[in-house]
Symmetry: C2
Subunit: 241 residues, 2 copies
Amino acid sequence: MTCYAIQPKDAPSPALLRMTALAELDRDSIAALETAIANATPTRARAEVVVEGREIAAPRLIAAGWAARVRLMNDGRRQFLSFLLPGDMIGMCHQPRPIAVSTVVALTDLLVATPPPSARGSELAHAYAISHALEEAYLLAQITRLGRLHAQERIADLLLELHERLTLNGMAVDGGFDAPLTQEMLGDALGLTSVHINRTLQLARRDGDLVWRDGRVTLTDPVALAHKVGRAPVRVSELQP
Amino acid sequence: MTCYAIQPKDAPSPALLRMTALAELDRDSIAALETAIANATPTRARAEVVVEGREIAAPRLIAAGWAARVRLMNDGRRQFLSFLLPGDMIGMCHQPRPIAVSTVVALTDLLVATPPPSARGSELAHAYAISHALEEAYLLAQITRLGRLHAQERIADLLLELHERLTLNGMAVDGGFDAPLTQEMLGDALGLTSVHINRTLQLARRDGDLVWRDGRVTLTDPVALAHKVGRAPVRVSELQP
DNA sequence: CGCTGTGTTGAGGAAGATCAAGCGCCGTGG
DNA sequence: CCACGGCGCTTGATCTTCCTCAACACAGCG
């Protein structure tokens, strides 16, 4: 079993890697981020980091582990709004006394940090802004996924997105990444039942698009797959690759 | 036929009404908004206000008319991401040289204004922040709509949202509002075909949930309908009703 | 007067849901 | 050590929802 919350001690933290990839951070900002990440508090899998309708105490930075923004309906239906990966942030908003519009639940054991405050106009603020813009872009991608893609396309598109994001923070190597996702979670993210996810995944495997074994996803040919389902990488800034 | 871009001259602009509803604006801010709205530039229906992938020149405020954020796929499939109503804003972000992550197309003739700049910490900045937070909340609502609601629920939920938003800017009176939407647009917003929208709308009419005639939607009993489809009004702040 | 866009209806088909059962794995407790 | 239970994955059978294709009515408009 893979432990998602713990990284080798000498490797740079994926969370830090992501933030440094988003903007040209100065040494002080990097140090502040490192400190914040080092002081991150652990959270158990299945715990709720943020609860919908409650006031948001402070912004959060996922230092390690996977989480998901989720919405629950009265009759038990569940919709994952997005996945939160190391380096992603929660609750970065500019209004006083905000209340959470979605619940955030830990999919694995987590390390959750408090992002250091940023000076207006600083590179750190810039990184936060880019991060926020990316988050919105991925929400839009989720909408088109659910609205206009078939089951096969939805799965491929989501895995490509995860691959893209995990590449940014250094957690994906040569088309493969660890994904602590059950087929039921995948169904909740993609608006499908786990049964249908199962059958569709088998198709994808038979087509040679991917291998999913022991919690590790390997995309055979991400570029070809992206072309197959008509997906373009997400970009939010002229300055950002 | 209703003309959406033109308001009676003595009535307060819905766009202004919305902004003043979001925060306690001072006289100067209101005056600045009024000036901006008065100087809004007209845009023809079907024109693209923002184009996906292009750099965003400046933020925009919808002063009058309806628009939609839309994503187009290579094979012609189309997904509406959200509707933009008078008082809604586009491209409010905090990063230099942002590029648009979605196209914005005018559904009716529009009046598009440039929102006045806001001082940090001002009530106007507060209003902008709330507006932005609401926008995100409605994106999340769209995700659950597409992912977990049936056709009937999707239609009801979307119309309730429009009713809620049009109430905020004064464009809805006693459960009714003008909606310049074809059944095809509705399908593109809800991830359904126009044929299925048609049949499902007929069911809703037979159930007595709504009347849709001559471009005007009247919800028979919004509260009961909201309860029927399990919908709660969107809230983003403890301070905001 | 024909054209185009929108709404409507019908018939048939495909994608995905539902219900149900079985299997392998693993942690737990007797 | 083994039995048990829970969880996740897999499979089959059947049903529902929604899509596709097609045709037609109707209104506005050049």
